[in-house]
């Protein structure tokens, strides 16, 4: 395609997603369980019902992103 644009940069970021996500497996499982519980129990799912669990997941993920970005910077000095 024609050089770097917002789509190719977004796609590049998305490529890293699985690896970063894998580093937060525990937080992801906790959040997932919270949401999944609404499908079987009596409580209905509504906005921010599992906000606490999601925050934990988001923080873990953001940390993983910044860790990988700093890794990239040190490696790209080749």
């Amino acid at each position: 395609m024609s050089g770097s644009n917002v789509w190719s940069r977004t796609r590049e970021k998305m490529r890293l997603f699985p690896e970063l996500f894998a580093q937060c497996a525990n937080e992801a499982a906790v959040y997932g369980k919270c949401v999944a519980a609404t499908t079987t129990g009596t409580q209905e799912l509504r906005k921010d019902l599992c906000a606490k669990e999601f925050e934990a997941l988001k923080i873990c993920f953001t940390n993983a992103v910044s860790a990988s970005v700093s890794n990239c910077h040190t490696e790209s000095s080749v």
Binding site: M14, F17, P18, F21, E27, A28, A29, Y31, G32, K33, V35, A36, T38, T39, L45, R46, K47, D48, L49, C50, F54, L57, K58, F61
Partner: protein, 298 residues
């Protein structure tokens, strides 16, 4: 009087014309997917379904003694260019499946594999297929149905509800297997056969599912699709998908429910249901049949 006539004319074309999908968008998506460097790696589903359709048609291969000529149509020019040459003379036609550019009674066999689920006017398309078939011709089709990608659909739905307070459809609507028989019958097909196959593909994660769907040219092109998926929602959906559907080895399954259909264009040679009252034996006689004597039971 003339107003009444007009009304009845529009009534013939089945009430309002359904317009669920943007055909132009679908063409662009297919063109994009076909020109990818490694586009063959996304072909696995199409190949698997294609071989199952071919089995139903004539066994694993079409031979030149049986088939005189192929006519291939696709809405995407790039997809047509990707077609491998075969020993059977093949005609490539750039056409929209909703507007088949062929005369009536042209074909002995029409095959459609994984294309009908993006058609707006499915009853109309089936009628057109019926028209271009010769009498005693057969239509064999495979399309994705009802339960396809339910894991992805549910994960996105739950994630969007929890994160954004509501959800919009990301998976396109599918035909239910119960409707398919009616649709084929209304289009004029005889001797219908409809059956379902579930293909489950395992992926490392939700991103791979979505990337592969894109690579197959199967991204959503419904008019009501939301073009943006928030990063938080993707993260949430990934977690939910894994938790609710994940397997022990860490992979996640994606279900493709494939509906296969076979229908024949009517012809006098085809067997018809027997007339009422023409039975020559009674079901009651079945109880009178005795076991053969002197045979060894295995």
């Amino acid at each position: 009087m003339s107003i009444l006539t007009l009304r009845s004319l529009s009534g013939i074309s089945q009430n309002r014309r359904m317009n669920v999908f943007s055909r132009e968008m679908k063409q662009r998506q297919k063109d994009w997917a076909a020109q990818l460097q490694d586009s063959q790696q996304y072909d696995y589903l199409r190949q698997e379904v294609g071989s199952r359709v071919a089995d139903r048609a004539a066994g694993p291969t079409f031979h030149t003694e049986v088939v005189e000529r192929f006519c291939l149509t696709d809405v995407s020019q790039q997809s047509l260019r990707r077609m491998r040459p075969s020993e059977i003379p093949t005609h490539c036609v750039l056409a929209d499946e909703e507007f088949l550019p062929f005369k009536e009674n042209t074909f002995d066999l029409v095959v459609s594999s994984l294309a009908l689920h993006w058609i707006n006017d499915l009853p109309g398309a089936l009628r057109q297929i019926h028209q271009v078939l010769k009498p005693d011709g057969v239509f064999i089709g495979a399309m994705v149905g009802g339960e396809t990608l339910y894991e992805l659909r549910c994960s996105l739905q739950l994630a969007e509800t929890e994160r954004e307070g509501g959800f919009s459809p990301h998976i396109s609507p599918y035909t239910a297997v119960t409707d398919l028989g009616n649709l084929l019958g209304q289009a004029g097909f005889n001797m219908l056969t409809v059956d379902i196959d579930d293909i489950q593909v395992h992926y490392p994660g939700i991103m791979e599912v979505m990337t592969d769907l894109q690579g197959m040219g199967e991204s959503n092109c419904a008019w009501n699709r939301k073009s943006l998926l928030h990063r938080d929602t993707i993260l949430a959906a990934a977690a939910i998908y894994k938790e609710m559907y994940g397997s022990e080895d860490g992979s996640i399954p994606a279900t493709f429910e494939i509906l296969y259909m076979i229908g024949w264009k009517p012809h006098e040679s085809q067997a018809k249901p027997a007339k009422r009252g023409s039975a020559t034996a009674s079901f009651g006689d079945l109880s009178k049949t005795g076991r053969p004597s002197g045979t060894d039971q295995p």
